[in-house]
């Protein structure tokens, strides 16, 4: 929704009652507006300056519609007809681009969004406008995401990051899981990660290998410390209300920061480290087999069949 601000545009005409000035002010308002406006709304700002009634404003607008300088749109809700200084095709393009600028959308979702502003837009009309915009490069059809059959449209060209971030996340997650499994056999997690980096660096993804001892990745110890710090901060905040006697659900804690959810295994490892260091208690679920897969996934696991559903400060 993009109603215009009515403060500045009529300031110059404050004292004038000349009909031409009134019409100019009216057309200025329409030019500034991002969507067609109802006569009552336009009248609201003109009344103060020109003492214009809704009926008089509507009469002026109808006259301009007849002249072809203003276009009339079907009412939205119960506000009466709406008016704008641009035609229907223009308005359809504006809505489509506005919606797709915010996010890439499948056509059926876009159709719903358009209908909210322009209820009488037909399917054919919409398709023609989309094709026109695609032709001139103002819109882009995005490649399908793996496992999803829906085509999405966007004002931006496809970003490769959007297509491989999931893959990378899964790969990282799998490596983290594997590191926990190996840790149970005495292989330090850091060694598993170093091996993963080395293998990646030798792959075609990289150009010439980095010199020995120099890693393009951020210092993992500092990252871990930062994560632990963030976890403790959130835990302190959540346990302050003593709702469950100071106990916080690991699911709730994970939900407090996008990072905790994205770095799933790193979050689990950080909590296990905090417990091992004696800073927090982790509460183990006795019968994880009785839980659903999604319930287990929301908990913290050590990769050895133990699942923890609660955490509290030790003191």
């Amino acid at each position: 929704m993009s109603d215009v601000s009515f403060e500045s545009e009529t300031r110059a005409d404050a004292a004038s009652t000349d009909p031409r000035d009134i019409e100019t002010a009216l057309l200025n308002l329409l030019a500034e507006a991002q969507d067609p406006l109802a006569a009552s709304k336009l009248c609201g700002s003109l009344r103060k300056r020109y003492g214009l009634s809704t009926e008089a404003t509507e009469a002026l607008l109808v006259n301009h519609v007849r002249l072809g300088t203003v276009f009339r749109y079907a009412p939205l809700r119960s506000e009466g007809f709406r008016y704008w200084d641009r035609d229907r095709g223009h308005y359809l393009d504006a809505i489509i681009e506005r919606e797709l600028r915010a996010a890439a959308l499948p056509i059926h979702t876009l159709r719903g969004r358009v209908a909210r502003r322009l209820a009488d837009a037909s399917e054919t009309e919409l398709r023609e406008r989309i094709e026109g915009l695609l032709r001139v490069g103002r819109l882009h059809e995005l490649p399908r995401v793996a496992g999803n059959r829906v085509v999405r449209l966007s004002t931006k060209p496809p970003d490769p990051k959007d297509y491989i971030s999931g893959l990378i996340q899964r790969l990282v997650h799998a490596i983290e899981e594997e590191s926990l499994r190996l840790a149970a056999f005495g292989v330090p997690c850091a060694a598993t990660f170093a091996a993963a980096r080395a293998l990646l660096e030798r792959s075609a993804l990289y150009g010439p290998p980095a010199p020995d001892g120099v890693s393009p990745h951020v210092d993992s110890a500092a990252t871990e410390q930062d994560l632990e710090h963030q976890i403790l901060e959130q835990l302190r905040r959540l346990s302050a209300d003593l709702r469950h006697g100071g106990l916080v659900s690991t699911r709730e804690l994970r939900g407090t920061q996008p990072r905790f959810a994205h770095e799933h295994a790193a979050f689990d490892r950080a909590l296990l480290r905090l417990a091992k260091d004696g800073r927090v208690w982790l509460f183990r679920h006795d019968f994880p087999a009785s839980l659903t897969e999604s319930e287990r996934k929301a908990m913290v696991t050590d990769g050895r069949g133990n699942y923890y559903n609660g955490i509290s400060f030790k003191e």
Binding site: G245, S249, F283, R284, D286, F287, N309
Partner: protein, 664 residues
């Protein structure tokens, strides 16, 4: 000297069980929270609720036992005397929530009735001490109440014409007490029946009937009349009646004596992972108790892992009340472990004697082994530590830990113990409760039907969705008019087509009296309409009781083998693999193709006769029941679980008492 392993006992099963040892430092914060909230209840005149949670084995029930011991003390052995009227510190009630959702309030009432008759530290029962105190409040000289109380319980001496004084004194005491009960009723709105019951208790009369009425609110018609009690209206919800009774007891207690209601094993209310009814009903009950009483402290215990389920199922407003305050029972710290072990060791006198003069406070255990264990178990619970110490103690005593029993052996032993206990304490007044909670567990396990909620059928205690459609089960274990009224309602519902596929359940130990002509007529009319009459045996009921008890323990984390919890799944699997024939018969009796339709009138007649006479000659029984001896002998042969026969001549019939053989 025989040395007992002081770590052998690692589970406190009941808040009434005296803890073997106690370290006040452990969970001190949560204990203080309970005491603080209790003080708030005393001061503010409003009820409060605390939710206690922790890992399985963290000591939730132990904490309740500590609260009880701290508030009520240990009962005095010199219990025969009546003390000067003093209020009990609290009325302590410990409820293990092994109940069906639709009998939850009645389960609470029954536990309340049983616990009210437990002794306080002064030796009297909680209820009697409270009643004596409340009556004494009406007198200037409180000792007078004590004297009357004693006098009215003295055996009556032969009356001598020249000693008018004593008789007049007793008569006056009786009149005064009756007047005081009236005033108490006016003050606390106790209601007609409870006032009458308290009057009998104060006058030292009908103690057994008083207990039974408090337990169920129902007594045989004649006894109800004799005691001046009126039957509850038929259309009144028995759950509401039970809740009202609990509230009335809380009003009797007033703020000087808070009512402490402890709810343990909340997890057992869930009959299956997707069952919501039990927990929902529990939330509603706690909420009602908190709002309808002014002097109640509600303490509820759950496993930490169960909190999400509670949050999800219990209505938001009810959950806010239930978890008004929360106490988290944290794992043991190293310091707490160091305190716990010596206290446990010293709880065995022989070990304590040997430990005197030892510089190692943990002797005979090795400190480095304990330290290693604590290092490897950062979230160690008291139960885990005690179990580890049990093994360490065995190693010291015998050079090796006790050989580990298999899960199969462990569960067989536990079941046998539970079954024996259930059989010995089995009584027909528990039948409804056993079946309401146990039957859904058994049928779900056998895949014979899933319990469904339908409040539209008032007289169906359980409803199952089975392959053959909906199955309605009605418990008809009442006597006299309540039985007749219930059967009449069922008959009406069946004849009007409101219920189909109905099974009427009556405990096989309860005869349908020859004099209950109307009840027999309704029952015969029902069986003619293909309604099944199922008569579960005492053995079958005891088996279900033992199963639900084991399963409840497992769900609440109270079933552990060497410190490690055994899940409900393992118990279910074991029970299914060892299904007792009596339970299989009971479950078969509910399936359409195996049902026996029709009433065996001769069985009820013979049972009634044998219960009256205890022991009767077969030919005499035949004569009194106007049957031939062969018919009687056939009936006895068909019900050997119920009747015993002594080979003659003459042949003698007697009633078999379930559990008598195992007790012997």
């Amino acid at each position: 000297m025989d040395i007992i392993n002081p770590f052998a006992q690692s589970i406190v099963t009941d808040a009434w069980q005296a803890p073997q040892s106690d370290v006040p430092m452990i969970h001190a914060g949560v204990f203080e929270l309970c005491c603080e909230v209790l003080e708030q209840v005393r001061r503010s005149g409003g009820s409060r609720s605390v939710l206690l949670h922790g890992l399985p084995g963290s000591g939730k029930t132990h904490l309740l036992a500590r609260v009880r011991t701290n508030l009520n003390g240990v009962p005095n052995d010199m219990a025969a005397t009546v003390p000067v009227p003093l209020p009990p510190n609290v009325l302590f009630i410990a409820v293990r929530l092994r109940s069906g959702a639709r009998m939850l309030c009645r389960h609470l009432r029954r536990t309340l009735a049983a616990d009210l008759f437990r002794p306080t530290r002064l030796g009297m029962s909680q209820l009697e001490q409270l009643l004596l105190y409340r009556l004494a409040q009406f007198l200037k000289d409180r000792k007078k109440a004590q004297k009357w109380w004693i006098d009215l319980r003295q055996p009556q001496k032969p009356r001598r014409w020249w000693l008018f004084g004593k008789t007049d004194e007793a008569g006056r005491a009786k009149q005064e007490i009756e007047a005081m009960i009236e005033r108490l009723d006016e003050q606390a709105a106790l209601g007609r029946n409870l006032s009458a019951i308290l009057r009998h208790l104060a006058l030292g009369r009908h103690r057994r009937n008083v207990r039974d009425w408090l337990h169920d609110g129902v007594l045989p018609d004649g006894v109800m009349r004799d005691l001046g009690l009126v039957a509850a209206p038929e259309d009144e919800d028995p759950e509401e009646q039970a809740l009202d009774m609990v509230c009335a007891v809380s009003r009797l207690a007033d703020s000087s004596t808070p009512l402490v209601l402890c709810f343990d094993q909340v997890e057992a209310l869930q009959t299956s992972p997707d069952d919501v009814e039990g927990l929902y009903a529990f939330g509603r009950m706690v909420s009602s108790l908190r709002d309808k009483t002014r002097n109640t402290l509600l303490l509820s215990c759950v496993q930490t892992a169960f909190l999400d389920k509670l949050d999800e199922i219990i209505r938001g407003a009810d959950m806010d009340r239930l978890a008004e305050k929360a106490g988290l029972l944290k794992p043991l710290s190293v310091e707490e472990a160091k305190r716990l072990i010596p206290v446990r060791l010293d709880s065995a006198p022989a070990v304590a004697k040997m430990r005197k003069g030892q510089s190692n406070k943990l002797w005979p255990l090795k400190p480095n082994r304990i330290a290693e264990f604590m290092d490897g178990n950062p979230a160690c619970t008291p139960r885990q530590l005690i179990s580890f110490c049990e093994d360490e103690f065995e190693k010291w005593r015998h050079g090796q830990a006790q050989p580990a029993t298999s899960l199969e052996e462990f569960l067989t032993l536990q079941y046998t113990l539970e079954y024996g206990q259930a059989l010995r304490s089995s009584h027909s007044h528990q039948t409804d409760e056993t079946l309401a909670h146990g039957l859904p567990l058994v049928l779900a396990l056998l895949g014979r039907g899933k319990q469904v909620v339908d409040t539209g059928h008032k007289y169906a205690d359980l409803i199952f969705e089975a392959d053959a459609g909906r199955l309605y089960i009605s418990f008809c274990n009442q006597a006299g008019n309540p039985l007749t009224a219930r059967l009449a309602k069922l008959r009406e519902a069946v004849e009007q087509g409101r219920i189909a596929n109905l099974v009427v359940v009556r405990d096989s130990r309860l005869a349908i009296s020859q004099h209950a002509k109307k009840a027999q007529e309704h029952l015969d009319a029902l069986t003619q309409r293909e309604v099944t009459l199922l008569r579960p045996s005492a053995e079958g009921l005891a088996a279900i009781e033992a199963f639900r008890s084991l399963l409840s323990d497992a769900k609440a984390g109270d079933l552990a083998k060497r410190g490690e919890g055994i899940g409900p799944g393992a118990v279910e699997e074991w029970f299914k693999a060892h299904l007792p024939p009596s339970v299989a018969d009971l479950a078969d009796g509910l399936t359409p193709e195996r049902r026996l339709i029709g009433r065996e009138a001769i069985y009820d007649e013979l049972l009634e006769l044998v219960q009256q006479e205890r022991i009767v000659r077969l030919d005499e029984a035949a004569e009194r029941l106007h049957r031939d001896a062969e018919t009687i002998a056939a009936c006895v042969a068909g019900h050997l679980d119920q009747f015993g026969i002594l080979q003659g001549p003459p042949l003698v019939i007697f009633e078999k008492v379930a559990g008598a053989e195992s007790a012997a």
